[in-house]
Subunit: 306 residues, 2 copies
């Protein structure tokens, strides 16, 4: 059970000489996802030596350019690299039309299965479930329809306590699956051995919540409660809260308040406005309320394991 | 009368860690144009310190991604920078739909006049004429509808020969414009003074032809004859001519052959396939036929003046 998040870009609005717009590469329980895809994301993937073929699922939070202008280029590159494995794209309604129009007009043939899963619900929904992870949307509050995403490892089966099992000779190897699934064991004499005596709790699944872009929005707290890692946008500092309100973004303080109230373990800040030349004040502002905060920066890797 | 061309990107297919796809910034007779706009062009403009507000006209040769995927990001950035001057975009039919769909779905408001001039003619046509330059299309032969562009400075008025004029006291300052326009002067006694005696030829207008992407196509020669500068794509070397034919691209040798037959003064090669780690062979191959050839590379500036 492990999670590794690589920040590819974490600034808002437009790419600049030294910064890239939103994109993250998430490896969770050996499932690989790309989250948002600002212009230049494919360059960043190359820079940080992430193999393109590992990306199976792409999640687009919303249709502001700094979150998806790199997608059509990435899809084209997949095609030029002769990808043949399926690619799933989750994003707002309209994304499919944007991509398909460009593929049609450029007479590009995509030889791999390209599956769009368009989102329009305002309620949280399960959008992907594999053997390894499950992903729910987190409805956010921004100027246009926007979702965050909650990534959670699948719960593992219970661990067999072999020392305890060996005391009961009639428990056979073919009973193990039932024990892993949490069932009690009934001996031939009718005695019931509680499952907890024969197994132990599995490793707790890791969870990661990506929340960009949004104004301060307490309604997300139930969705992200106690996650191991929360990325929450912090476009502004408190001194510019009026701009955050006007543009429906958050301040570093507000991101920390959400993290604190949701009892999350770790917080990463990002989506900084280009008006700030130094980011130290973001960490300072958030850290006063939530000490376990850190700054996103391109190339940064955050690893967690259980 | 001057021309300065800055190469922003000159590789084919996809941006990579060290290379960018097609884009060039042209300053001609104080008129500024962007030619093609691959992904990441706005980063390159910043890198080479080209002010965004100087770009008045954008020319897109065709709808393959390596020539236009950076356009929507650049337009969005213009908007974020509060541009208010007009922007003219010349490109194949369909480009307007691609851009407008993305602006609509992202609920972006463009506060500056954004004028699309969609192209569909298979004949060369005059698409822009200002006081300073005129631009014609150069129909190319590629897998999809593609135009090159011929940029030519406007012919300047004839130069007054003040020493000669001063001999004739009845020639007044208000006659000068007619002389500049090439008219002869009729004295009151009926004698006609030929214009050539009173003026000299103006500086010869400079010309630049951009030809990417195309297979070897001799039909372009009449359009580009004797231009001061020709950019001609050279995706492959002769050893891969079969690939050039298959993909409707050119080799360095073919680019040089076009340059030689069109009697152009200078040739720049570009649009290299990523299969080549060194570009020296491109110059060697073209140079045998056309010595006045050079390689495009990002950041390179080529200046000409008359």
């Amino acid at each position: 059970m492990s999670l590794r998040l690589t920040i590819l870009g974490c600034h808002s609005a437009t790419p600049r000489s030294l910064t890239y717009t939103s994109s993250q590469f998430l490896e969770m329980n050996n499932e690989c996802c790309l989250i948002d895809c600002g212009e230049g994301t494919q360059r960043q993937l190359r820079k940080y030596k992430i193999k393109f073929s590992r990306i199976k699922n792409i999640f687009i939070s919303h249709l502001h350019g700094d979150h998806f202008f790199g997608l059509i280029g990435l899809i084209s590159t997949f095609s030029l690299l002769n990808r043949n494995s399926e690619l799933n794209i989750f994003g707002p309604k309209g994304l499919k039309e944007i991509i398909q129009l460009q593929l049609k007009l450029s007479k590009s043939w995509i030889d791999f299965p390209l599956r769009f899963h368009e989102l329009s619900s305002k309620e949280s929904e399960l959008i992907l479930e594999t053997d390894r992870i499950k992903v729910h949307t987190i409805p956010l509050k921004h100027r246009i329809y926007t979702n965050g995403f909650l990534f959670r490892e699948q719960t593992q089966p219970r661990k067999l306590n072999m020392a305890a099992i060996s005391k009961y000779k009639e428990i056979d190897i073919c009973d193990y699956q039932n024990l892993k699934n949490g069932k009690d064991y009934k001996l031939e004499n009718g005695t019931v051995i509680p499952n907890k005596e024969l197994t132990s709790d599995p490793v707790k699944p890791l969870s990661y919540a990506y929340c960009s872009d949004t104004e301060y929005f307490e309604a997300i707290i139930p969705h992200i409660e106690r996650v191991d890692l929360l990325y929450h946008e912090a476009t502004f500092l408190e001194e510019h809260r009026h701009l955050a309100e006007k543009t429906k973004h958050s301040t570093a303080y507000q991101a920390a308040k959400i993290a604190k109230n949701a009892l999350v373990k770790n917080l990463i800040l990002g989506h900084y406005s280009s008006r700030y030349t130094s980011l130290d004040l973001f960490l300072e502002e958030a850290g006063k309320l939530f000490p376990n905060a850190q700054l996103a920066e391109a190339g940064k890797e955050i690893s967690l394991s259980n």
